[in-house]
Point group: C2
Chain length 98, copies 2
Amino acid sequence: MTMQNPAHPGEILRELVMNPLQLSVTEVSEHLGVSRKTLSKILNGRGSITPEMALRLEMAFEKPSADHWLKLQLAHDLWQTRQTKSKLSVEPFTEIYS
Amino acid sequence: MTMQNPAHPGEILRELVMNPLQLSVTEVSEHLGVSRKTLSKILNGRGSITPEMALRLEMAFEKPSADHWLKLQLAHDLWQTRQTKSKLSVEPFTEIYS
DNA sequence: GCAAACGTAACCTTATGAGTTACACTTCAA
DNA sequence: TTGAAGTGTAACTCATAAGGTTACGTTTGC
């Protein structure tokens, strides 16, 4: 309803942050203080932006706030969950009172 | 900077949803299709609103969207992380280019 | 006093983030 | 053309945490 398949945060990180500054994965991972694998997973959509990682990104790049990084992750997670768990079968509570 | 100690989502769930409708923990947990423990933990601030739980709440109460529930959780988590991990020591990347 | 509701401890399963190490592939420069 | 650097990723380990079931003690209301 609200949106179609929001890009995962790693895509934004690569395209809007690392590419413009011409930063390598190795370079950034070392700077952030995380393993190369951790960054790589995020960049390729197989890792999540955790609160701590959001903080690290905020400290390193200032620009997108930690809050913003996490909202990007949230949008992606919620989208995935809506696709997967569409048959949760929870009845509206309000219906009982209407 | 942005806010002081955001209430955990369970507080909102209890005060703004369950109390007004006079719903019990048992009642709601059964309706949502989760265990009483899972709901109780969230209500008492020792459990998190996961994407799936956010969807269940949205389906049951309609009013606060899943997205909103998750943003409440996010604000709480980020706040906690800022308190705990304040000494992450990540240098600004931009500084290098300024 | 009794029954219902509640918080929670104990225990188990599953999932995931993060790290290290290692390997294969690609690109680029000496 | 050979070698170094960067990259993606598999394998393994550790820690955390969500969710479930069961059970127990406490609180509350009829």
